[in-house]
Amino acid sequence: MASTATINGTTTAADPISRIPKKSKLPSTPHQFITLAEIVSEFSHHHPSVARINNGSFGSCPASVLAAQKEIQLQWLSQPDDFYFNHLQTGFLRSRTIVKQLINADHVDEVSIVDNATTAAAIVLQQVAWGFAEGRFQKGDAAVMLHYAYGAVKKSMQAYVTRAGGHVIEVPLPFPVTCVDEIVQEFRRALQRGKMGGRRVRFAVIDHVTSMPSVVIPVKELVKICREEGVDQVFVDAAHGIGCVDVDVKEIGADFYTSNLHKWFFCPSSVAFLYCKRSMESCDLHHPVVSHAYGNGLALESAWIGTRDYSAQLVVPKALEFVNRFQDGIEGIKKRNHQAVVEMGEMLAMAWGTHLGCPPEMCCSMIMVGLPACLGISNNEDTLKLRTHLRDKFGVEVPIYYREPKNGEVGPVTGYARICYQVYNKPQDYYKFRDVINELVREGFTCESLPN
């Protein structure tokens, strides 16, 4: 079946640079879409007795894409010089072109391939640091991030922005959250704080989908507010973006946008893209690992950062092929994942007498489900202990989030499980989780009883 790029259900014409063929007619054979048995086979390397309801952390990769990756690895091992001189760069261009079409970027120059969103963050924040070091930004100018920003991004802000003299402001967000407006209001308030005392807000990093707790953020609206308030640069951290939520970088309007491809787009570990709007050329992005490609633009710099295994970054075409074996391609997968995870979340919340962490429209293929208060989740350590207990004793893999109770709350729900749904999941995975928690409640289990 020919490789195609689909955006929001419609197909795009061939990009002359990459010569990706136009969509050909689907064969009218009975099994034109991937079957359940084929899906099971594609993920048969997953541990069979684990209820793997945590696709969000490390993603997943089907066997056919892994096989294609292995072929690339063998090609390199067989004759690395030839691969380096004659195949590596065309492979990168192919991957970048597919991503460009998937995300609706204007030009392939705007798309670089990097290891992961963590690396993308370092790239973007490094140039913010140069802004302070070279006097484009004044010491004390503000940089804004969400309180629920990913741990690595927070540290990166510290390492690059605070260290260079920037003032970092966190946007507190409510959780559980009941509507988009709650987030918008907090964000506006944070920008005002940033501008106090005549300061400029130079930079804002906004998650498209927060990690823990997981909520879909109204990025388009927040980017718009940033423009209104004169924020110099906006970076959307969409680690969970592609394959999870709709990604249209022009519509979202950020200056920088990154998403992992190994989380929800079936690529092997690890590969991500960093989109940089062309008008930001002057801001001088560089890969921190400098090679002979330095100065040729981020896309080319990132395509050679010394000898290493680039195979995960070269199989993007194969991942797209895989995705297109499903009805409605990635759009269909996203829609079905979302419906399934909401259904499973509601089933669990009802079974445990708890609630969801956000309304269904504010989640994608992950959702936060309250855990029974009697489990006694009273701090972050408890969440790790409980998670380990669920993994080791019951074969359930799911991350747990601790929510600090507010003053005056009676019998608060302090623990939330972040359940995910990907094409290999089945209702049994969630029934297993439901039953395990119910059993723990029946036994009078509390986190206190777990060893440190």
Partner: protein
């Protein structure tokens, strides 16, 4: 040697047992089998560029990769850290470092250079160093390192000085003399040398540098920090970081130490400033020391960092272990180099004692190698039309210099041949014959066609 996994058993959750290795040395055919994935028909005499990895180590790597794929959360929480510590500990012993805290695993020497130079860059940005304080490097330093200096040092206001070393080179003394002269010149200009970067084995042209002596000179002359870029060293020459005495020492493990692409170790002597080294890709481990920071830089495949134990098993199946391999590679490459130089009527770029597993062999002047472009052309032609993979170096002759001549003219091109355990005599004979053919046909570089 690969084990089939039964996913229905609990075996997958236990440490996968590997077959007992019989305590005898590898035979010729077993070595061939270990490298049977190398493209046949190619005289692969360029181990120095991208290295090589035997089948049994690749199989071990796949085992690690499969464990991650099966249950990534369990792998990252319970297995990964221990595996990296095991590799670091083995490296620490190999290189005679004092403490495993001094050993970090990174992707490659290029990454290590960025780590060290970012620290220097911060020194300038934060006012610790003054404008025009200097970083010293060899003229033939690896291009990535030079660019890294530009990106982090020059950009931040520092100055970079290159030490030009003679090539062809006749003795260590020539190198030591030039190095001393360069340092004295910088000091006489009133500048402080904040960092000296010294290659242990230069890349192009390839020569073994007397690093211990040069580090000694740096200490005498008050150079603040010394970074030895030993990309080619481990598995090639003896590495004793305490004896060499540098502040930072990096070597790739995938070049001459049989690891898959890619992994390198960065040794950082425990000093006051070593705590301010950071991996540029910042994660939640930020501030926990470079070894810990480097052990988690986001979700990715760390398997190449986990196979060091199986590499040691592999090298110990050779007589004399790693030492035996190094000695044999050295002897063979010198023998092959002399064979080629004699066949072509040319020269070697350095005396045998100044090379390890690689040597530079002069190419016949009749090929008319007059530029970098010519070397690229020749290299591609050799690959495409003769099945020979070998990098070529252009050594222009400056005004006033005599240069080296063969019977027809100036020798301006050198091939860097490597020898690793999978190489055989035929590889170098194929190269010899290809060059002889080109000369016989009256070919010069400019007229060479490539596919």
């Amino acid at each position: 040697m690969e084990i089939k996994h039964s996913l229905n058993g609990e075996a997958t959750h236990r440490i996968l047992k590997r077959p007992r290795v019989t305590p005898r040395f590898l035979s010729e055919s077993e070595i061939r089998e270990e490298f049977s994935h190398h493209q046949s028909g190619v005289a692969r005499i360029n181990n120095g560029s991208y290295g090589s990895c035997p089948g049994s180590v690749l199989a071990d790597q796949r085992r690690w990769q499969l464990r991650f794929l099966q249950q990534p959360d369990d792998f990252c929480f319970n297995t990964l850290r221990k595996g990296i510590l095991a590799s670091r500990t083995l490296i620490k012993d190999l290189i005679n470092a004092d403490h495993v805290d001094e050993v970090s695993l990174v992707d490659n020497a290029t990454t290590a250079a960025a780590i060290v130079l970012q620290q220097i860059g911060r020194g300038f940005a934060e006012g610790k160093f003054q404008k025009d304080d200097t970083v010293l490097m060899l003229h033939c330093a690896f291009q990535a390192v030079k660019q890294s200096i530009q990106a982090y040092v020059t950009r931040a206001g520092g100055s970079a000085v290159e030490v030009r070393l003679p090539f062809p080179v006749k003795s260590e003394e020539e190198i030591i003399m030039e190095f001393r002269k360069a340092i004295e010149k910088v000091k006489s200009d009133g500048r402080r040398i904040r960092l000296a970067i010294i290659d242990h084995i230069t890349s192009m042209p390839s020569v073994v540098i007397p690093v211990r002596k040069l580090v000694g000179i740096c200490r005498e002359e008050g150079v603040e920090q010394v970074f030895v870029d030993a990309a080619h060293a481990i598995g090639s020459v003896k590495v004793d970081v305490k004896e060499i005495g540098a502040d930072f020492y990096v070597s790739n493990l995938h070049k001459w130490f049989f690891c898959p692409p890619s992994v390198a170790f960065l040794y950082c002597k425990n000093t006051n400033s070593s705590s301010d080294l950071h991996h540029p890709v910042v994660t939640h481990e930020y501030g926990n020391g470079l070894p810990i920071e480097s052990s988690w830089i986001g979700t990715r495949d760390y398997s190449s960092q986990l196979v060091v134990p199986s590499v040691l098993e592999f090298v110990n199946r050779f007589e004399g272990g790693m030492e035996g391999i190094m000695k044999s590679n050295h002897e063979e490459v010198v023998k092959m180099g002399k064979m080629l130089a004699e066949a072509w009527g040319t020269n070697l770029g350095s005396p045998p004692e100044m090379c390890a597993g690689m040597i530079m062999v002069g190419l016949p002047s009749r090929l008319c190698i007059t530029s970098e472009e010519d070397t690229v052309r020749l290299r591609s032609h050799l690959r495409d039309c003769y099945g020979v993979e070998v990098p070529i170096y252009y050594q222009g002759v400056k005004d006033g210099e005599m240069g080296v001549r063969d019977k027809n003219g100036l020798i301006t091109g050198y091939a860097r041949i490597s020898h690793q355990v999978y190489n055989k005599l035929e590889d170098y004979e194929k190269f010899r014959d290809a060059i002889n053919q080109l000369v016989e046909d009256g070919k010069v570089c400019k007229m060479l066609l490539t596919q």
